[in-house]
């Protein structure tokens, strides 16, 4: 754990002491080396339990894919932000990268935490850099509203979580996951216990987000600058999924009945947010709602609490993290050239940016869950386990898959095909940086097809 955490903390001196000319070069290289070292976590030679273990931090097959995703994302965020942050004064550039690096540190500690309170503190701590990134570097005045929604939705969910965790500590005497995984099932039979159950999960359901408490997401994703959107879509949403999967272990048997309304909300959310996507004019908003849709499927998979549900949830989280981040990067390339997120204004791009059209194509195919990409594998596992729970869910998930394909194709056709308007033809060509960024997003998705057992978690 320290072999990644210490280089990540040493990113801060790198950021502040490098000469201005080489700031972005050194931080990109440094964070890519951290990403390389983080791959060592993928070694899982036993068939149970935790590795890289010390008293405070450990990794296990659930947290490892998310940790590697987090470490992989920082260099991508730096690459994506380089162009629009460059004209700012140097100290502000350093501050921006510092915020990204601090997010990375908090996220590593969150996913690697063995004490649930440490996870909680890091969960809350990630809010601050993200809030600063959204409200300070966002591009429209709505960013202030977005920051408020983002902060207070998450806080409103997580303060009950704090109380629930303190109660758990009170009753079991420990909050270490290493110990709680072996504890006896708790006697959960009163209304108070049901409220405690809800308190444990609401924070993560808001973070995922579950349809119904998802309003912060379109605002935050749209108003954030590209690195903010990337980290929000790729990793911060997964904090919710990860938290739920950890807490579920001790919430039985109440979850059998109490999960019902949330599963229904999640499934309904897939349909609703998918339909909203079909009517969007704002490109980033479309991608944001598509994130809600995919996360609804993940939430359903986790709440079902079967091995396939959990595996499917992890696979979908990783695949969606990479693909959603790729889509936000593509949307940002259009935004940096046209200064608008309206889709009609930047259409017919395939004619002038043919290679980029390939990236758009692959990213949209991945988003609509094309086999053999892991997006499909995760979705299929979740749909199967939901069908096993209740055959009626196939109506909702099947329709959801259809609508997902619909809006992904809509996004592709709207941006790439069709007549190229006259004001588009004068746009700047694509930078090598942007092509590299897309390659670094999509090549891991393709490589994961060859070794998916890295993502299957400990259940399968």
């Amino acid at each position: 754990m320290l072999k990644v955490l210490i280089p990540t903390i040493m990113l801060f001196p790198t950021i502040w002491l490098t000469s201005p000319k080489w700031l972005w070069t050194t931080t990109t290289a440094h964070s890519l080396l951290i990403a390389l070292i983080s791959l060592t976590w993928l070694k899982w030679t036993s068939e149970t339990g935790w590795t890289s273990l010390n008293t405070y931090m450990a990794t296990d097959p659930l947290s490892t894919p998310l940790l590697v995703l987090t470490c992989w994302l920082l260099p991508l965020m730096i690459l994506a932000s380089q162009n629009h942050i460059n004209p700012e004064p140097i100290s502000r550039q350093r501050l921006y990268i510092t915020l990204l690096a601090s997010l990375q540190t908090f996220l590593i500690m969150a996913f690697g935490a063995t004490e649930i309170i440490m996870f909680y503190i890091m969960f809350e701590a990630t809010l601050i850099p993200t809030l600063i990134i959204i409200t300070r570097w966002g591009n429209q005045t709505e960013r202030l509203n977005a920051g408020t929604y983002f902060l207070f939705y998450t806080l409103a969910g997580s303060l009950p979580l704090l109380v629930a965790l303190l109660l758990l500590q009170q009753s079991t005497g420990t909050l270490s996951m290493l110990v709680l995984q072996y504890s006896q099932p708790l006697q959960l039979n009163s209304w108070g216990h049901m409220i405690w159950w809800a308190g444990c999960l609401i924070a993560f359901l808001v973070k995922m987000p579950l349809y119904g408490v998802h309003l912060w997401l379109p605002k935050a994703h749209v108003e954030a600058p590209v690195a903010g959107s990337m980290v929000l879509a790729a990793v911060l949403l997964k904090l919710g999924g990860y938290g739920m999967m950890r807490m579920m272990i001790m919430l039985d048997p109440l979850s059998k009945e109490l999960a019902y309304p949330f599963i229904i909300l999640a499934l309904w959310g897939i349909i609703m947010t998918g339909s909203i996507c079909l009517r969007q004019t704002d490109l980033k908003s479309l991608i944001a709602y598509s994130s809600v849709s995919h996360m609804g499927l993940v939430a359903g998979g986790i709440l079902i609490q079967t091995p396939w549900g959990f595996s499917g949830a992890i696979i979908l989280m990783i695949a969606h993290g990479l693909v959603s981040s790729a889509l936000f990067c593509l949307a940002n390339t259009a935004y940096e050239r046209t200064h608008s997120r309206t889709m009609i204004l930047a259409r017919g791009l395939q004619v002038i940016f043919p290679l980029t059209a390939v990236w758009w194509f692959i990213a949209n195919l991945a988003n609509l869950a094309l086999p053999p990409l892991p997006n499909l594998m995760g979705e299929l596992m979740i749909i199967t386990t939901l069908f096993n729970w209740s055959p009626w869910t196939i109506l909702l998930t099947g329709l959801g898959t259809l609508i997902t394909a619909g809006y992904s194709l809509y996004m592709f056709l709207m941006s790439q095909r069709g007549p190229t308007p006259n004001h588009i033809t004068g746009l700047q060509p694509f930078h090598t940086r942007e092509h590299l960024l897309m390659a670094l997003h999509l090549v891991p998705v393709l490589l994961l097809v060859t070794k998916p057992e890295l993502m299957w978690g400990w259940c399968y």
Binding site: L36, W44, E47, L79, Q140
Partner: protein
């Protein structure tokens, strides 16, 4: 609230270590942004020359540097070396070396071992005529249960 901040900010910004006096606090897209709402006009001074949000004049960087890679607008040396290092560490190191490392990782989660062990046990039990699987993992006669006093 934003206008109040813009009046306090110049004072606050002077406290910083490296001063950047006179620069705008907020990088905003110009008013031509089609999807943005009304830009708060007291935050953005009207710039005399047409500038894009990158603070550059509306000239493509490819004019000055045809080999512009997107990393650094003014210095082509830094731009080129940034590109080389990003590609080297991103693709050659992280993807290729990292991918090779992952490919050669030992049996992930002992799944292949489990399959081999199962086949070995099946072969052994069939050879000895034992059933492939018994209900009791432990011999029931070795388990001592407390009598019904509790």
């Amino acid at each position: 609230m934003a206008s109040r901040l813009s009046r306090i900010w110049p004072t606050l910004s002077r406290v910083r270590l490296s001063s950047a006096l006179g620069s705008r606090c907020v990088s905003q897209t110009p008013k031509s942004s089609a999807s943005g709402a009304a830009v708060a006009s007291d935050l953005q001074p009207v710039s005399p020359a047409a500038q894009d949000s990158h603070g550059h004049a509306e000239v493509s960087p490819f004019e000055k540097n045809p080999d512009f890679h997107g990393f650094h607008h003014h210095d082509s040396f830094v731009d080129e070396w940034n590109m080389r290092l990003a590609f080297f560490f991103g693709i050659s190191v992280a993807i290729v070396v990292g991918g090779t490392f992952i490919h050669y990782l030992p049996d992930h989660g002992m799944r292949q071992w489990a399959r081999r062990e199962a086949e070995r046990l099946i072969k052994k039990r069939e050879a000895e005529g034992l059933p492939l699987m018994t209900e009791n993992y432990y011999d029931p006669s070795t388990i001592v249960l407390p009598s019904s006093e509790e």
